[in-house]
Symmetry: C2
Subunit: 346 residues, 2 copies
């Protein structure tokens, strides 16, 4: 199988993906009989480039990392914006890793919808489209016999959603609990060690764990959107982020964190989805967890999720320290699974 | 799709499977368009029964649990033994859960080979065939376009092998570490609490965690065979149990366990597979692990495995307390994945 690929976004994750595609090209060809070309890259601030014969990925990486625009690599008519790019770039697969507003799920949701409507398979690292429009986009992909995969939206490249798709079959998922946000993990761990809240946030920003605007993490928006992805995709719910009972970690103090520790517990921003006879309720709240709970061992950029089903009492997946390549790897796996037709049938 | 199923063995796991098949029949039909009949059951000590029109599973369960033989349910010519049963029982799929000698992998290996040769798909809960003859059996299944799945051989129903098959694609597995044996877990936890070794083994036997002959567990045979399954299936190695550097937990004392705990560590029987540029080495040894290691949190009948790959720094799967239904569930998932054709292609 051959896939022509259009990349949306060329930030840390998409650039890590470009490098990983290069590194893994021989493996994809030898193990999965899968070849590819990247025929276009669209960015927010660095212009875009389309080449139906395949872009030189290394040249694109050099350009963007030198602060230059991609337009010098472009062949053909100028393209006005990303939606126009999605239509005109000749591609079988759109791989989407643009900046996301977790409060609205945009612009990624519009991009994914446009790509599916244009007949492209879609792989996205963005939670937004899945949290805000999963049932619509899934139906659209199915109607057009297209793949729509998004492993990297929860716990980066860890196989969480593929476990739901391939491993948790014919089972009723009773509860999903997770510790899924790095910034709050980092801050809560720092509080335990006596670092003040504001200083902990500054440290998280300094090492790149937290965004400059850390409020979406601290207020639990990122965790909320991931919670909705898990509920909708793995539990088959139809939740919207506004349905989640959300409390951030603002207001948690060194004293709170250390008192928990003295009691053999840790405060974590816990994502919790409960299925009560088909009625699904979700919350995101600072919660004290006992140290023996695998979710409690998660710190810094680690994350973990626990499934409780009618056939498995407790299944936990823990991912250790992550980086953009980890996220890019989830996208690569999605691409292989699209090539293998894993989106077809039940 | 319809599958006629022959069951080999009708002990705790196979009976849990029979019940689970009954409970999940409607789900399998509605969600996976999969119907089935059990057309035969062969046992070591309770005889066997074949009915081409489908056995009454409830009647079979009642008979065996009342200490009776299955022969009263049998239709047709008498069947001499399990190998003859495999040939004559009309079945698309053989589901195998017989008693295993972990030192030889028999008789399960012969049963699986015979079933594949007779053109049946195979699901086994037995580590033996996979540890002792994986490459041969895999080639045989591929040659005949048959499914050969065995999710329950490692960590019961937890999706460990399906993660390897569906989630860890196009990646180099550098290391696999696991805590995979319940008896040694139980005994080591009890030692930490001051229970003597012999008393801990007796307790493990009393609650059914350990077999009457606990030596295969305590000497690390069970863990060794699981280690080989992971190495061969997920890392693509071709190890034999004799290749594993094996040390059991005999000789570990209360003092050893408590000294580790005081140092912030726990002794676990660690399964360790290392891939050094394609050269795979495996060991099973009592090892001190720091408490923050997710493998260290595993106790009693829990188990855990950690993968380290060139794209994921640390991926851990932890399974909480297990029972025969958990194991049976892994077999049910294998059955669905065979019906979905997941054994075809790469």
């Amino acid at each position: 199988m051959h896939l022509d690929i259009a990349l949306l976004g060329f930030g840390n994750v998409a650039r890590a993906l470009a490098r990983l595609l290069d590194v893994k090209a021989a493996t994809l060809r030898d193990e999965y009989d899968l070849t590819f070309r990247v025929t276009g890259i669209a960015t927010q601030s660095r212009g875009c480039a389309i080449d139906p014969d395949g872009l030189d990925l290394q040249a694109a990486l050099r350009a963007v990392e030198a602060g230059e625009r991609l337009d010098t690599l472009h062949k053909g008519e100028p393209v006005s914006d990303t939606l126009a790019f999605i239509d005109v770039c000749p591609a079988d697969l759109v791989m989407e890793a643009t900046w996301l507003n977790p409060r609205t799920g945009q612009p990624a949701t519009d991009y994914v919808r446009a790509a599916l409507k244009a007949g492209r398979h879609v792989v996205t690292a963005n939670k937004g489209p899945v949290a805000f429009a999963y049932q619509e986009l899934r139906a659209l992909a199915a109607e057009k016999d297209l793949g729509f995969f998004f492993e990297s939206t929860v716990m980066d490249g860890a196989p969480v959603l593929s476990v739901g798709r391939e491993g948790l079959l014919a089972t009723t998922i009773l509860r999903i609990q997770g510790v899924l946000n790095s910034t709050t993990n980092f801050v809560l761990s720092a509080l335990e060690q006596g670092t003040t809240f504001d200083e902990a946030v500054r440290q998280a920003q300094a090492i790149g764990v937290a965004e400059a605007d850390s409020a979406t993490d601290l207020e639990g928006w990122d965790a909320t959107v991931k919670t909705v992805v898990l509920a909708n995709v793995i539990m088959g719910a139809d939740l919207h982020p506004a349905d989640v009972d959300r409390t951030g970690i603002m207001g948690i103090t060194v004293q709170d964190a250390q008192a928990a520790l003295e009691a053999g517990e840790r405060i974590k921003l816990l994502c919790d989805v409960v299925n009560e006879n088909g009625a699904v309720r979700a919350s995101v709240k600072p919660t004290r967890l006992p140290l023996r709970d695998p979710l409690c061992q998660v710190s810094r950029t680690s994350s973990a999720v626990t499934f409780q089903t009618d056939t498995l009492h407790q299944l936990t997946i823990v991912e250790g320290d992550t980086d953009p390549t980890t996220t890019a790897y989830g996208m690569l796996v999605d691409m292989v699974n699209i090539a293998r037709g894993r989106f077809r049938g039940s």
